[in-house]
Symmetry: C2
Subunit: 168 residues, 2 copies
Amino acid sequence: MEFNEAKAQFIQTWGKLGSEWGINRTMAQVHAILLISPKAMSAEEIMAELSISRGNANMNIRDLINWNLVHKELVPGDRKEYFTAEKDIWEVARRIIKERKKREMEPVLKVINQLKTIEGDQQSAEIKEFSSMINQLDSFVGKMDKSVNLLLNENENKLFSILFKLMS
Amino acid sequence: MEFNEAKAQFIQTWGKLGSEWGINRTMAQVHAILLISPKAMSAEEIMAELSISRGNANMNIRDLINWNLVHKELVPGDRKEYFTAEKDIWEVARRIIKERKKREMEPVLKVINQLKTIEGDQQSAEIKEFSSMINQLDSFVGKMDKSVNLLLNENENKLFSILFKLMS
DNA sequence: TTAAACTTTCAGTAATTATTGAAAGTTTAT
DNA sequence: ATAAACTTTCAATAATTACTGAAAGTTTAA
């Protein structure tokens, strides 16, 4: 396969995967471009590469920076801003997991905790079923939370060596 | 908190979480209702509970069945179809992971494999960076794939006992 | 068969989400 | 201070995604 075709397919695939996981397709595509770029890129270059407007480029780059996946790079003697992506894919995964945990898991944990005590006839079938599900979720999400913390604190090899033990 | 308020908040939260992860909000809400219902529900009951149309209810219930999270239940002497959700939350998680792996991880693996060999000057900075990223991804996704297979084949306790070892 | 009871489909519409582009804002060099 | 070079914002618009409801399809009982 020719390089330009491969590049286009990579950007396409990364964008599709992002949108399937609730991430703006363009943001994922900007990320893809930066992941495979050997040098820092300016907003202009990103706009040209994806045929998107300045505003769109600016917002998605800002979002990527907020996700801690991309950072600004200053070139001495040049007023433009340049952008580079974290290239270590394990580190990329950790940062995405960390961010989603903070944005989505923690609010859910909070709600579940509020729902653990409800008023009313504790013998009614509805309340019994509801409480049972909330308790299951509380336990499950708590365990997940701990597991994710481990993932975030350990390195790749340690984790996979443990998972390898699980196989045997 | 009163039961009806708690129930509304649970449905709301589950729906929001779903939409943040690329799942139709209504589908997640239908799932939430069934998760906490002590009995199988008819399409009518679901429609009423969420104030949605018959068509919408039908499509989202069908999707939940395709995700293997909900199944039909027949009541003798009644022509209506009733629906129940899998109630074991660990099993729910396994089915969601299994489905997303099939729908999203496997296609990505296929593309990555195609992109491993590209034509052109292998010494150019662009091609070197691209190949390096593809190789990293290939290795990473391969490991994830194996790990997920383990998760799907082991039970909850085994998994968490292993993760617990990781903590020490 | 027939028709009542139910489920599914899908064209039209509504709601949501993403994008544009020009104006406003900021920074830097002189 | 000024203006050139750049970045950010956001109202208007476009694109995408979800929903409705009525018509078509299916199943069952008599």
